[in-house]
Symmetry: C2
Subunit: 315 residues, 2 copies
């Protein structure tokens, strides 16, 4: 079995994962990111011991430890080169972890780890696989021939930072019109807020007043109730996601494309119109088509993917 | 040695290529694309014999034949599945060629073949390599771990058909705002024509009147003479190319990125502002940067790449 660790800006989630990628036991603790990496790794180690002990196992049964971290990760050196939301700069996470356990430690970018988890979860051993996760930002992971594609410097697969609107909305990365500014849940919430102001009598307003805020689900739920303003928001959002998906398909023509992140729980409400857009707009008109799916692991993708990537590297 | 064939909508170019990718002898004939594929392949075979004989060699010295074709190519079946500008529909080009020569025949998409030629021409054996060719359209090729990346269905690497302006100009592929509509030489010519009308006293008009038309070089040449309208066209065009290059770099973080096609002969006039844009806008701020270069082989990339891809497949 393996330890999978999903290091986030808010929480550290740690799981004991079996050979097939099933989580046996998981637990989490606040990251308290203002701390140095040494303390954060100490908490990771202690959580790893906890989940192993509490599930009736021992660390001697664990073959490797996998960690997924946000930011720029140097896999070969096991180092978080830079992570803005963790305040880490050249933090030797893997080496620090090995002070606690004499085990192989594999460090991946978190989106890459999640992508690898979802890749294994398809059960299809696809020759090419692209994962797009719609959350606060838009992340991505690319698995080719069963391996995480990282680019020559480890910083690849930033599919959220591709321009889809030249001269468009300013992105935190410095560019304008990045996919992330139109297809993230943050973008969906902004669209929903705009609509709320423009159509004060729409259901969106009732929904927001009842809960005190709008969320990524607001437009989807109000649209189901027949609200026209909500339907427009939902369609505009889904169109942007579909443009991003179709761009990646024209580049990669992957065997499988998986859409993840919280909003992917909308299932067919999201998937069906994306499939329709891609079916019509994909450049490939004459060969078999990419299979587009919704993620299976949701919040567990980070833990499972980190563990399975460590398993793969341990071979 | 190898035969490399660049099958185009206008001409069939055939070369005898040595082990290092140097063209020993080349020749061409009109494609006359209204003909069936059998006649086109017959001309390819006859050109192959000619260049071999005329260079004092014999077909018995040739180890394999490589063909690059536009359209959707099925490499494993050696078939042009569909090529609009060749009027080919499931044409078994490789099998037809083998009626003339008892040699391995490898068929690639033309942009992939050109990319492979440029990849070898870098002499760097890069782990990841992206090629973008700016011509009538915008084509691409991706070489990962020394192999042409084709996607699971062979239709990948259509980087010209990624949306950079959502809701933008209508593309021949059916989508709106494809990179090709802003970064192709066709797009540059259209910008130049627009500018010519808007600024009737610009140098662009003198240039066009002297030659009877504008070309991809017009804006670059008039800008060198200090013409302001031409400078604006050139900058707008280069910005679009740079956005496309930076998108691909954020996805692939390739070790080397090569820009080809006729317009790449502008050299530093094109390269320097693209490097500046990418240096500023690339998502990767903490790891080594992609090396961006201009193509070396120009019009020979198709012949050389087809030949070298055949050499690789023949191993």
């Amino acid at each position: 079995m393996y330890i999978g660790i999903d290091l986030g800006g808010t929480n550290i989630a740690v799981g004991l994962v079996d050979e097939d990628g099933k989580i046996i036991k998981k637990d989490s603790a606040p990251t308290r990111r203002e701390r140095g990496y040494e303390e954060i790794v100490r908490d990771m180690a202690s959580l790893a011991r906890c989940v192993t002990r509490e599930s009736g196992h021992s660390m001697s049964e664990v073959k490797a430890i996998g960690i997924g971290s946000p930011g720029t990760v140097d896999n070969s050196r096991g180092m978080v080169v830079y992570a803005n939301n963790l305040k880490m700069d050249h933090a030797p996470i893997a080496a620090e972890m090995r002070k606690y356990f004499d085990l192989p430690v594999n460090l991946e970018n978190d989106a890459n780890a999640a992508a690898y988890g979802e890749y294994i979860a398809t059960g299809k051993n696809a020759s090419s696989f692209v994962f797009m996760t719609l959350g606060t930002g838009v992340g991505g992971g690319i698995i080719l021939d069963g391996k995480i594609y990282r680019g020559f410097n480890g910083a690849g697969a930033e599919i959220g930072h591709t321009t889809i609107v030249m001269g468009g909305k300013k992105c935190s990365c410095g560019r304008r019109g990045c996919l992330e500014m139109y297809a993230s849940v943050t973008a969906l919430k902004a669209l929903t807020e705009e609509s709320r102001k423009r159509y004060p009598r729409s259901l969106i307003n009732d929904w927001a007043r009842r809960r005190g805020h709008v969320s990524g689900r607001t437009a989807f739920e109000c649209a189901k109730e027949g609200d026209e303003a909500a339907r427009l928001v939902k369609e505009q959002y889904i169109r942007s996601v579909a443009v991003g998906v179709c761009n990646m398909i024209n580049i990669f023509q992957p065997e499988i494309f998986v859409i993840g992140g919280g909003i992917s729980r909308e299932g067919d409400e999201l998937l069906v119109p994306i499939r329709e857009y891609v079916d019509k707009n994909d450049y490939n008109k004459h060969m078999p088509k990419t299979e587009i799916r919704i993620a299976k692991l949701y919040n567990d993708a980070g833990i499972v993917g980190a563990a399975l990537a460590a398993k793969r590297e341990d071979k």
